[in-house]
């Protein structure tokens, strides 16, 4: 999934450019969040990529806007959990049917990873949660709160 292009020709200064970029990247993540409930490999991959993109952007901005640090940390946790889901899924599609014990264990780990990712995502929108700073900075994400992944 390609990153959306951001027009900075109209940006008035550093703060404004930072806000414009953060809004676009956060919007990408919010749009793809329903993947957490559909659990389809491609959609989850796109969501993970969008989380990573937003995280890198926020990490670059934290020296000027420290309130974004917590969101970046949460996105890192989310990304790691989704990577575990992806790794498990990759094994499951190649595992021979006679390895039923291993198949069962890895399926459990994969499902746990998805539940953890969903919990991390929902919790991020709580009052004073990790996304508080990001939501204030971008003006996005209000009203998403609990149930975000279930839409």
């Amino acid at each position: 999934m390609k990153a959306r292009r951001i027009d900075l020709s109209v940006a008035c200064g550093i703060e404004d450019a930072m806000r414009r970029i953060a809004i676009v990247r956060f919007a990408e993540v919010l749009t793809l969040a329903p993947a957490l409930s559909t659990a389809r490999a491609r959609e989850l991959r796109n969501f993970r990529v969008a989380c990573r993109r937003l995280r890198y952007t926020l990490e670059r901005f934290t020296p000027r806007e420290p309130s974004l640090l917590e969101a970046a940390t949460r996105l890192k946790q989310l990304q790691k959990t989704l990577r575990t889901w992806r790794d498990c899924q990759n094994i499951l599609v190649t595992l021979p049917p006679e390895m039923s014990g291993t198949f069962k264990r890895i399926t459990t780990e994969r499902d746990d990873a998805l539940s953890r990712a969903d919990a991390l995502w929902r919790d991020a929108f709580a009052t004073y949660g990790p996304f508080e700073g990001l939501m204030t900075f971008t003006g996005l994400g209000y009203g998403v709160e609990a149930g975000a992944g279930a839409n």
């Binding site: 990153a3 951001i6 550093i14 670059r60 790794d87 094994i91 291993t102 890895i106 780990e109």
Partner: protein
């Protein structure tokens, strides 16, 4: 200094920093092609691409195709490493005779992609 010039100077200094970080990770990986160095190289290359994505208007993306090629070879190697790690950790004892050859094949594939990544990294240099 006007807002535009201040913004351009800020973006330029970030780009210099990201390029330096990439070149550092690249040197370390080319010296020792280990999984740890590969992960560091992947992070630096992704950050650089993210900078080009975010500030495309102000920093013209350079050598995008080579960067995409490097990232795709790294992704292959790290995906195999992830699969190997989980299979080693979660394999059932009763499946050991099937898991051992699978792990060996995965290790070979990982080495193969590491070599590809080495070649791609050797070709991709930036000047800060």
């Amino acid at each position: 200094m006007t807002d535009d010039r201040r913004l351009a100077a800020w973006v330029e200094s970030m780009a210099r920093g990201e390029i330096r970080a990439y070149m550092r990770a690249r040197r370390a990986f080319l010296k020792t092609a280990s999984t740890r160095h590969l992960r560091e190289l992947r992070g630096a290359a992704r950050r650089l691409r993210s900078l080009f994505d975010d500030f495309g208007d102000l920093v013209p993306a350079r050598r995008q195709k080579a960067l995409a090629r490097l990232l795709s070879t790294i992704a292959q190697a790290t995906e195999i490493a992830g699969v190997r790690r989980i299979l080693r950790k979660r394999a059932d004892d009763r499946d050991e005779d099937l898991v051992t050859p699978m792990l060996r094949v995965l290790r070979q594939q990982e080495r193969h992609w590491l070599r590809y990544a080495e070649r791609a990294a050797a070709h991709l240099r930036y000047r800060a």
